[in-house]
């Protein structure tokens, strides 16, 4: 059922920008239209490109935001989230904890 919803109406998660738009709802309480516009502006893409798997794969790779394939040399997990926090100009709880503990 989770997969059907993802295919029918979901943004696509890490395949596209779903996790990034979700973070704007979670950290700033933005409604969907505002959250999409915010992310699109920060990434420098159109609203349509936010859910374009091909465009977003390259963009996520270039901006080091994490890609769905486990590629050599590509940031993973907390490292990708450092870049997401910086790119979207948001606080990510785990990133702040990591920084606090590693400084």
């Amino acid at each position: 059922m989770a997969i059907v919803h993802a295919m029918a109406s979901g943004m696509g998660g890490m395949r596209t920008s779903g996790d990034l738009v979700a973070r704007m709802q979670m950290t700033r309480g933005m409604k969907i239209a505002e959250a999409k516009t915010y992310v699109a502006n920060k990434l420098g893409v159109s609203l349509a490109e936010l859910t374009d798997d091909a465009v977003m794969w390259e963009l996520r790779r270039d901006l080091k935001l994490g890609v769905v394939y486990s590629k050599r040399g590509q940031p993973k997990g907390i490292e990708a989230k450092h870049h997401i926090a910086k790119t979207l100009d948001i606080d990510i709880n785990s990133v702040n904890l990591f920084k606090g503990r590693s400084s």
Partner: protein, 348 residues
């Protein structure tokens, strides 16, 4: 005239003529409109729903550009239910990397805040590891589940035993004591997971024990928002109507019993909830077009008054989906499209 194959609320197929299908939609929206005193779907909206329900496609989806964010309840419990022996970290990765999930949720098999408390020292390191591993946001989720605080499972007298004896005052006192215990546990557990790096806390199936359940969650939310101003709290409801198990509980002067989603969200956002999830239950003896029309009517009214993102509950038996173990793909995708396009939801 050829008939349209649709489904009943129990998942089995049923045939409808075009006139019967439209009648189901009209009756479904009227039912919700009259109960909650909110506007029914407009003529154009009913026609749009009719066209969606008429489809003979195996799977349908929203128009490009209308995609929404997905959040989950019981996240890491779901794969284990299939008999697949995985650890929770692998399940989170499966959601992120295989299922196209926008967010994920770590949870424990009992899925109740009370049950998590004694094992929290075992569970918080899993959240810490998940945060090192995952890119998508990771919620921690469980239910308030006030039933666990009543005897014989819990410390307070059982209102279900007191009420048949006419001990209404004692039953209400028992619920009030259960609220205190639940708030303490929810704040304790949510704090521990937030301090372990959780991106958000999900209070799920709120109101399953009626107005005391809702009251406990509102109080816990207020305490957590004061303690951690940046915390994200998602509140997912148990049904469209808050049952008056206590009957006299209020919050900020508003009586909780009897609230429908458009009023539930007002009080939830005031308490500090970040994302609200209305849950509209399915009637198994009605058709899916009737059920979706009804769910969309309640949900649309909720979205219209909300200042916060709304993620409609669309699991088995809620949000227009049938009550069966394997909800058919045609119906799930049809309901998914219909709810998003008709109500302008921010997520599911």
């Amino acid at each position: 005239m050829s008939k349209i194959v649709t489904r009943m609320g129990d998942g089995f197929t049923v045939e409808r003529t075009e006139a019967e299908l439209m009648k189901d939609i009209e009756n479904g929206t009227r039912e919700a409109s009259e109960r909650a005193k909110v506007p029914a779907l407009s003529s154009d909206e009913m026609k749009h729903l009719f066209e969606i329900c008429k489809t003979s496609h195996k799977i349908v989806g929203v128009e490009k550009g209308h995609e929404i964010v997905l959040s989950y309840d019981g996240g890491t419990n779901k794969v284990g239910r299939l008999g697949i022996n995985t650890g929770r970290l692998q399940v989170l990765q499966m959601y992120e990397r295989c299922f196209g999930a926008d967010t994920t949720e770590l949870s424990q098999v009992d899925y109740s805040y009370k049950a998590v408390k004694p094992i929290i020292h075992e569970d918080t390191p899993i959240m810490e590891q998940a945060q090192l591993l995952m890119v998508c946001p990771v919620f921690y989720g469980a239910m308030p589940n006030l039933g666990l605080y009543t005897q014989p499972d819990g410390p307070v007298p059982n209102p279900a035993e007191l009420l048949p004896k006419g001990k209404i005052k004692e039953a209400r006192q028992a619920y009030e004591q259960a609220i205190e215990h639940a708030v303490h546990d929810m704040v304790y557990v949510a704090s521990a997971f937030y301090e372990a790096g959780a991106d958000g806390i999900n209070f799920d199936t709120v109101g399953a024990s009626g107005d005391p359940d809702f009251k406990a969650t509102l109080l816990a939310t207020e305490i957590l928002k004061k303690k951690y101003p940046n915390i994200c709290i998602e509140m997912g409801m148990a049904g469209e109507f808050v049952l008056g198990m206590h009957g006299e509980l209020t919050h900020d002067g508003v009586r909780l019993a009897g609230l429908y989603p458009h009023d539930q969200v007002r009080i939830a956002q005031k308490a500090g909830v970040t994302i609200f999830g209305p849950a509209i239950t399915t009637a198994t003896n009605k058709s899916i077009p009737w059920t979706v029309a009804r769910a969309a009517t309640y949900t649309k009214a909720c979205v219209e008054v909300a200042k916060i993102p709304i993620h409609g509950n669309m699991g088995m038996g809620v949000g227009g989906l049938p009550v069966c173990e394997t909800p058919p793909v045609d119906t799930v995708s049809m309901a998914s499209k219909a709810m998003v396009e008709l109500t302008r939801l921010d997520g599911l």
